[in-house]
Symmetry: C3
C-alpha cells in the first residue's frame, strides 16, 4: 500500500506544500517517522518535535506549517486528518468472504449480500444481518437479532436475543449485549428473579470495546444512541439510555435506568448511580462517583488526589474528623466575633 | 401468551378488585402500560403515576388500591408479585432440547434427563450435569465439573475443572468460573507461580452476571452460598467466601481470602481488600473501599461527593493539607483556651 | 501422586529435620493439614497455628523450626518453597496431546512439536506456535500471531492479529489481547475512528488473568515486559508499556500511552491516567487514582477511609467546604497574630 502525497492531499482536502510525487507507505509519530512516512501534529505539546522529524510529510494546521522540515499537508483539523490517514493504511486482515462451513446458522435467519461469517459462529432463528456484515470466529448471535448493514462483530462476541444494531456498529471480542439486567425482588430474606423482558437498541456508527456488558431492559429497552463510543470493560445496566455522540472510557459503570445525555464524556472507571439524569455535554472525570443528577453541561469530579503513603495516612485519618473540625472552626469563629 | 386477571390473581395469591375475565398479555410500567397490560406500583415515588395509568390492571398494596383507575390485584409485596408476573410473561427463546451435533462431550461425562446442549459446547471428562440443565452455544465446561439440576449456562461461559454448582444456578455469557487465583511468591525480583489446587463451590439458586470472574482456591475452595446474586464484571478472588443471600452490583471486587457475610449488599464498584471478615447484614455503598473488617451490621461508605470541576479543584487540593489544617486548628484552640 | 519428605527436601534444597521416609500426598494450610500433608509458615500472623498443626511436615524458616510439632523442611524463603511444592502437586487436568479434529487451523500456520489444540480452536494465517503450546477449547488466534514455546492459552481466549507472546506466557479465559485501542478524532460533533495500526508485544514468563484486556497500539506496539503478572478484569490501553516484574491486582486500569516501571505493584481497582510515567519500584494502593507522573520509588495512595454511613454523610458533606474551611482557618490565624 503506497499513496503519493498528491493523492493524500486530495483525499484529505489538504493544501499540499511540497512535492506531490513523494510516495507514502505508512503513518508514524513525529519521533518515529522516517522516509516514506507521514506524521502529524495535533497536540501542541509535541510541537517541539516537529522541526526534528524525519517524516517525509506532516499533517499540520496552517499556523505551524512553516516549522516543518519537510512537505506539509495543511488542514484545519490535523487530528481528524490523521484519523482518515490511519483508515487508509489500516492493516487489519480482511475476513474471508462467505460463510465458514463450521458456522451454525438457523434456517430462518436472513443474511444480506457480501456477509462474512467466521468459523464456529452461531446465528439463531429469525436473525437478520444486513449487507456487508462481518461476524468473527466463535461469536454467538441469539434469536431475533437484527444487524444493520456493515456491522462488524469480532471473535467471541455474544448477543442475546432481541438485540437490534444500527448500521456500521463495531463490537469487540468478549463483549456481551443483552444479558439479563440485575433485577430481583426481595421477600423474606430471599431474592426472586425479575425476568428481563426488554431488549437492547443500538444506533448507527457505534463502537463498543472488548469485554463490555450492555444488559437488556427489564420492561422496555436499553438504548444506545448514534455514534456512541464505548471502551473496554464497561457496564451499562438495564434500561440505561446513552445519548448520541457520548464517549465512555474503560471500566466505567452506569447503573440501571439512568439516562446519559448527548455528547458527554466519562473518564475511566467513572461510575453513575441508578435512576439519574445527566444533561447533554457533561464531562465526568476519571474515577468520579456521580450519585445525583446533573442538570447543567460542564465538567464534574469527585475523586481525591494522589499522595505518598505516609502523607496520605496522616491526611486520610483527618477525613473522618472533618465534621468535627468544621464545628470546632465555627466555635472559634463565634468566640472571635464575641471579642470583636 | 394471555392470562385472565382471575388466573393472575390466583397465581399471585392476590385479592382481585375488578373483572376476573379481563385478558392480560403483558406487563409494563405505569406510564407505558396500555389495554391488555398489567402494571404495578412498588416504589412510592411513582405513586403519582397511578391515577393516570392506562393499564388494564395494576398490582398494588392495599393502602393505595383506591387510587387506581382500573382493576387491582391487591398484595402485600407488589414488587415480589411483579417479579412473579415477569416470570409468567418471560419471552426468552426456549433452547432446543437435546444435544447439538457439533457439541464435543467427553465419553465419561454423565448428562441428566432433558438437558439442552447448544452448538460447539465442550464438556470435559467426568462432568455430571443434572436434569434439565441448559448449556448455551460455545460454552466450555472443563473436567470434573458438577452441575445440579436446572442449571442454565448461557453462551460463551467458561468453567475450569472442578467447579461444583448447586441446583438452578444461572451463569451469563463471558463469565469465567475457576480460573487460577492470583498467587505468586516473590524471590530475588521474580514471581513464582503458586499452583491453585482448590476448586469453586457454588450453592443453589445463585445467579451470576456477564463477564464476571470467580477464581478457584489456592488451597481449599472459593465458596458462594445459596441465593447469592452477582451482577456483571465482578471479581471474586481465590478463597473468598460469600454468605447466603448476598447481592453484589456490577464492577465490584473482593480480594483473596475475604469472607462476606449473609444478606449483605455491595453497591457498584465497591472494593473489599483481602483477608477481611465482613459481618452478616452489612450494606456497602457504591465505590466504597473497605480495607478493614466490619463486625457490625449496618451501612458503610468511603467515597467523596461529586462537584463541578472548578469547585472540586479548590477542595481536592485541601485534602492534601488536612493534617496540617487539623494541627493549626488545635493550636488556635489551645491559644484560645489560654485566654479564657 | 506421592513424594517422600527426602525427595521434597532435595527438590526444595531444604534442610530436613525429621524422617526422610514420610510420604507426602498433598499440601494444605496449617489449620487444614492432616497426616500425609505438608504445610508451611510464611506469614508471621499465622505463627500461633504452627504448634497445633496436624501436618506431617511443615516448611519453615530456621528461626521458628523448633516450634513445629512435626518434621520440618527448613528453607530461607518458605513462601517460595510453598510455591514450588504447589507446582509439584498441581492437579490441573493435562490437555490431550495433538490437534482436536474440530479445530480450524489455517494452512499457513506453523505449529511446533507437542502442541495441544483443543476443540473448536481457530488459528489464523501465518501464525507460529512454539513447541509445547497448549490452546484451550474455543480460543481464537487471529492472523500473524507468534507464540513462544510453552505458552498456555485457556478456553475462550481471543488474540487479535499481530500479537506476539514470549515463552511460557499463560493467558486465562475470556481475556482479549490486541483489540483496537480507544482512539477517535472529534470533528463537528462526531467521532472518527483512528485505525489502530500497532500490535501487542508480551515478554517471557508472563501470566494474564481472566477477562482482562490489552489493546493493540495506535502507532507502534503496546508492550508488556518479562515476568509481568496481571490479575483478572484489567484494562491495559493502547501503547501502554509495563516494565519487567510488575504485578497488577484485579480491576486495575492503565490509560493510553502510560509507562509503568519495573517491579511495581498496583492494588485492586487502582487507576492510572494516560500519558504518565511511573518510575520503577512504585507501589500503588488499591482504588488509588494516579493522575500525575511518579518519579520516585515508594508507596502512593489517594482513596478515603471507610466509615459507618451516618458518620460518612456528616464528613463527606464537609469535603465540599474544605477550601472554605481552609480560608476561614487562615483568617482566624491572621486575626490571632494581630493580637499577639
Amino acid at each position: 500500500m503506497q499513496l503519493s502525497l498528491g493523492e493524500l492531499a486530495q483525499h484529505l482536502g489538504a493544501e499540499l506544500r511540497g512535492d506531490a510525487g513523494i510516495m507514502i507507505r505508512g503513518v508514524a509519530t513525529l519521533q518515529d517517522a522516517g522516509a516514506g512516512m507521514v506524521s502529524f501534529l495535533a497536540n501542541p505539546s509535541y510541537r517541539s518535535q516537529l522541526a526534528g522529524s524525519a517524516a517525509s510529510a506532516v499533517i499540520v494546521a496552517a499556523d505551524v506549517a512553516d516549522e516543518a522540515p519537510c512537505a506539509t499537508l495543511v488542514v484545519k483539523n490535523p487530528y481528524l486528518s490523521f484519523a482518515l490517514v490511519t483508515q487508509l493504511f489500516d492493516n487489519r486482515p480482511q475476513p474471508r468472504a462467505g460463510i465458514h462451513a463450521s458456522a451454525v446458522i438457523a434456517a430462518s435467519a436472513r443474511l444480506g449480500n457480501n456477509v462474512s461469517i467466521g468459523p464456529n459462529v452461531v446465528i439463531g432463528e429469525h436473525c437478520e444481518l444486513g449487507d456487508g456484515c462481518e461476524i468473527g470466529a466463535n461469536t454467538v448471535i441469539s434469536d431475533h437479532c437484527v444487524l444493520g448493514a456493515g456491522c462488524i462483530l469480532r471473535a467471541n462476541v455474544t448477543l442475546y436475543h432481541d438485540v437490534v444494531l444500527g448500521e456500521r456498529v463495531q463490537i469487540h471480542s468478549g463483549t456481551v449485549i443483552g444479558a439479563d439486567g440485575f433485577g430481583f425482588a426481595p421477600d423474606k430474606g430471599r431474592w426472586h428473579k425479575i425476568a428481563q423482558l426488554g431488549g437492547v437498541r443500538i444506533g448507527n456508527d457505534v463502537e463498543i470495546g472488548a469485554n463490555t456488558c450492555i444488559d437488556r431492559g427489564a420492561l422496555g429497552n436499553t438504548e444506545i444512541g448514534d455514534n456512541v463510543i464505548l471502551d473496554n470493560l464497561i457496564q451499562i445496566a438495564h434500561n440505561v439510555k446513552v445519548g448520541d455522540g457520548t464517549a465512555m472510557a474503560a471500566c466505567t459503570g452506569i447503573a440501571g435506568s439512568t439516562s446519559i445525555g448527548k455528547h458527554c464524556t466519562l473518564g475511566g472507571n467513572a461510575g453513575v448511580a441508578g435512576h439519574l439524569d445527566i444533561a447533554d455535554g457533561v464531562h465526568i472525570a476519571g474515577k468520579a462517583l456521580i450519585s445525583k443528577s446533573i442538570t447543567e453541561a460542564g465538567a464534574y469530579s469527585s475523586a481525591t488526589p494522589q499522595m505518598p503513603m505516609q502523607e496520605w495516612r496522616r491526611n486520610a485519618v483527618r477525613f473522618r474528623q472533618l465534621d468535627d473540625m468544621a464545628k470546632r472552626l465555627q466555635k472559634l469563629e463565634k468566640s472571635q466575633e464575641g471579642k470583636v
